[in-house]
Symmetry: C2
Subunit: 145 residues, 2 copies
């Protein structure tokens, strides 16, 4: 049984697409803010929109591991993007709050993020994007079973 060239399959196109997008995103974000990564931007935006979520929930929203989130938050606190204080009702949890610097940063990167998405999806019809999303969700479900 000869395996086909892995780089020829749709699954590798998925990998390639996300890598190219991340490269684009990082490049453009770096133009306006120097000390932040794409992942940290995403965390910032999510946290601003979802106050009072736990690290756990945050991890799920950004498709990351708990361990990764712990370390990202450490860094972001160190770089003054977030503050972290103990949750008063459940002492296992923490309150994650976006700082002033974090809020300013969000304002700076918002148009960049929009632009990146538009660039990546340029020339695709709404229908095409919807289909893409639909197919990807089927794959996600298949993998989870």
């Amino acid at each position: 049984m000869k395996i086909e060239n892995p780089t020829g399959t749709a699954l590798y196109s998925i990998e390639k697409a996300i890598k190219e997008y991340r490269k684009l995103a990082q490049k453009n974000i770096a133009k306006v803010v120097k000390d932040i990564t794409v992942d940290q931007c995403l965390v910032l935006i999510i946290l601003e929109q979802n106050q009072n979520i736990s690290q756990n929930e945050l991890a799920n929203l950004v498709f990351k591991d708990n361990a990764s989130i712990t370390r990202m938050i450490e860094l972001m606190v160190k770089n003054d993007y977030l503050t972290r204080t103990i949750h008063s009702e459940d002492r296992r949890k923490f309150n994650l709050v976006v700082t002033e610097k974090g809020l300013k940063t969000i304002k700076l990167i918002e148009p960049v993020v929009q632009h990146n998405r538009e660039k990546a999806l340029h020339g695709l019809s709404l229908n095409e994007i919807a289909l893409l999303d639909q197919t990807l969700h089927k794959i996600i479900q298949n993998c989870k079973k």
Copy 2:
């Protein structure tokens, strides 16, 4: 300008899909071979099918950085999956050769890789997969410009 929730866009579905697939792949591969990663498996398969390629070319085929490839190869040589010798005609290059252990490993993981792909794409029509691939390639091109 309020940014939409990033997790709602097709681009994040791409990220989620590839992460779920990698998780599935790693889990199933670990069942038959313990000391190898998904990425290393891919490198093995590519190297068996493309003899005499440089690290550079290999990096492009697996969508990785040169630096990543250097470190992966170091590890794979250390774990006896590959041998690396200096290229006689261009002394900047190396000959990468899959070892006996590497070949045996490929035989072991081939059916697993097939099964993983089938599982991930289960229930999708050929047309649907082709469309997916096509749309992803548009995105890839958009990001590269």
